[in-house]
């Protein structure tokens, strides 16, 4: 244990302390600014695109992302980039260019609310409830992962770490609502980069630059195959360390899992909905996609450096799990001062993950469950204060779910299983409902239920030992894929047996009938064109994939 314990001094703690003070200060500042529930839950739909865009990417830079991607970099090498350039960028561009006009244009306040307008109340309630459960489980994963790192690096007992992190996040979100969450996410984005870039630079110098790293990777356990993104993925002849064919990567990862996560996860979409106009909302995921293009260089690369620079990484020795790649590098290289910044960056990333989920949770519970069904027609202030209580309650529950997460040995796989159950069926329902006007409300509801039940059934069957899959990840891929297919079949069958909504009620909700937002008519400079930005990012992803082929 002690070999990983950091040699921190008061300078490091001073840096961490200033960060926490600023985060809380933002919460107090935001509180003074909040006047209505729209301010609290959607930042008054007033934020500029650069802020929502960076918050969008930061909401995704949570615990499992920062530690998990470095771990994958050490385990699979360059092939991990597929999670970015194939498994995220196209979905983000699709969200911005194709789906955002419906989300933002229809003025819904949440993803479940879109289901209410497009389908009916039962599908709204069902999705709101499953979403609330899923976000709390995910927030728990982030809390738990943070506590693990604090225990490993600083020797804080697990439960103390969980509670300290929970209290700070609860304080700034219940004070400042979404504005506070988003503002802190943008700050967190820069702090996380300030932690990762120096680690990568020092590591690269140490292993002799990119050339030196390549030579040493070739001699390592993953060998030459660890230096390619897509080489060795032909069906029947898979030599890539990730063990998947290009068909699995493109359709399983790039389509079902990625599109499901990025386009329907309200913790992400909420950031775009808080933008000041449709153009800014469309640009939110696209601006987020720009750093996403380059994040592999500071997230996957450190993992690969750790593989060659830390002897014994990935072995059975204590604390040598791949997940510890970044903490081990910090311990290896960083002097006091930079160490404090790096620790702050790690904490920031965990808090970003918890905050994104909790702020989405309080919005859905308040505006999708309490306001329409349980306590109608209360004063606006009542809902704001209810949102504050929902935040605190949500965090309290996520402390408990953190304890559930502590029973899983691989958090990334636990998360993927959650996504396959909650996001894949939702994505299928959305995509069919958006592009097929005839799809009926009943079809939306039963499709969702059947898809969720399918993925949950596979997961339970697998856990109970009744079904067997190649790996945990293989189970999630199959769960997501079969949920998608079941939703499609059920939706078509039920649609053919029930009556659709009149077309007049679908204005602004289905493809070909998007609402035109007048505010967009106001002049936007050519470089603010969402299409230009979207296609440039796609081209960037294609070029990078070819470079690392």
């Amino acid at each position: 244990m002690n070999e990983v314990r950091l040699d921190t001094d008061f300078v490091d703690y001073a840096i961490i302390a200033t960060y926490f003070l600023v985060v809380l200060g933002v919460g107090f500042a935001a509180k003074r600014y909040i006047k209505s529930s729209l301010d609290y839950f959607l930042s008054g739909r007033s934020l500029p695109a650069w802020i929502t865009g960076l918050a969008f990417i930061s909401a995704n830079l949570g615990a499992t992302e920062v530690l998990g991607m470095a771990a994958n970099g050490a385990q699979y090498g360059v092939a991990t980039v597929n999670y970015y350039w194939i498994g995220a960028i196209p979905a983000m561009v699709f969200l911005g260019l194709v789906m955002m006009p419906f989300y933002y244009g229809s003025k819904v306040r949440s993803v479940p609310e879109y289901l209410l307008l497009r389908f009916n109340k039962p599908s709204h309630v069902f999705n709101s409830v499953t979403f609330a459960v899923a976000t709390i489980l995910i927030a728990g994963v982030n809390l738990f992962a943070l506590a693990l790192v604090l225990e490993l690096l600083l020797g804080w007992p697990l439960i103390v770490g969980i509670i300290v992190a929970a209290v700070v996040v609860a304080a700034y979100i219940s004070l400042g609502g979404l504005s506070s969450a988003i503002y802190n996410e943008v700050l967190q984005f820069f702090v996380i980069l300030a932690a990762l870039i120096p680690i990568t630079v020092v590591g690269l110098v140490d292993v002799g630059g990119w050339g030196g790293l390549q030579d040493r990777i070739k001699e390592s356990t993953i060998g030459e195959a660890g230096l390619h993104a897509l080489q060795g993925t032909n069906p029947g002849d898979v030599t890539n360390p990730i063990g998947a064919t290009w068909i699995g990567i493109v359709f399983g990862l790039g389509f079902v899992l990625a599109f499901g996560y990025w386009t329907t996860n309200f913790a992400e979409v909420q950031r775009a909905l808080s933008a000041k106009d449709l153009s800014a909302a469309e640009r939110t995921p696209l601006i987020g996609a720009v750093p996403k293009l380059f994040l592999p260089f500071v997230m996957i690369l450190p993992g690969m450096i750790a593989l060659v620079a830390i002897p014994g990484l990935g072995s059975d020795q204590p604390n040598m799990e791949y997940n510890n790649a970044i903490p081990l590098l910090m311990n290896e290289y960083l002097p006091n001062g930079m160490l404090g910044v790096a620790l702050t960056g790690l904490m920031a990333s965990f808090m970003a993950g918890v905050a994104a989920n909790v702020s989405a949770f309080n919005t859905v519970v308040t505006t999708d469950l309490v306001e329409p069904y349980l306590k109608r027609g209360k004063a606006d202030e009542w809902y704001v204060s209810f949102g504050r209580y929902a935040t605190i309650a949500g965090i309290a529950v996520s402390v408990l779910t953190a304890l559930i997460a502590s029973t899983y040995d691989n958090l990334m796989n636990y998360l993927q299983a959650l996504f396959s159950i909650f996001n894949a069926p939702l994505f299928a329902t959305f995509i069919i409902g958006m592009f097929w006007k005839r799809m009926t409300p009943a079809a939306g509801f039963w499709g969702l239920i059947a898809g969720t039940a399918t993925a949950a059934g596979l997961f339970i069957g697998y856990k109970a030992g009744a079904l067997s899959f190649g790996s945990d990840l293989d189970e999630s891929m199959w769960g997501a894929g079969s949920a998608f297919v079941v939703v499609a079949i059920v939706s078509v069958v039920v649609t053919l047996m029930t009556t659709p909504k009149p077309v007049s009620e679908l204005q602004g909700l289905v493809y070909g009938m998007a609402n035109i937002d007048e505010s967009v008519a106001v002049s936007h400079r050519w470089w603010e064109s969402p299409k230009l930005l979207g296609f440039s990012v796609l081209a960037g992803a294609a070029i990078l994939t070819i470079l690392f082929w």
Partner: protein, 104 residues
Amino acid sequence: MAEDTRVERAANLFDLRRIIGGVFTAWGLLLVVLGLFDSEEEIERAAGVNINLFAGLGMLALGLLFLLWAFTRPLGRELAEDEPGGPGGGDGQGAAGKPDPGGE
């Protein structure tokens, strides 16, 4: 008018660019000072790179850029029109009023 200046002041206080700029300027200065006094042994550990100094300079530059941006284009006057760099962009139109969400 009084309402306008109050909102403007609140907006400036709450300007994210000033917050990021302030935090990074302070941390940058701290790291630069630490870097200047770091021992050989500590530099040796970081593969011979004085990482406190270089990271500190980088963070200082980022912080100062944010402060420069925030003070040359104060948020109070351009709440509605706040994209960076475009000349003649924020003309102060609709300063205090956030765009009304309408709907509902």
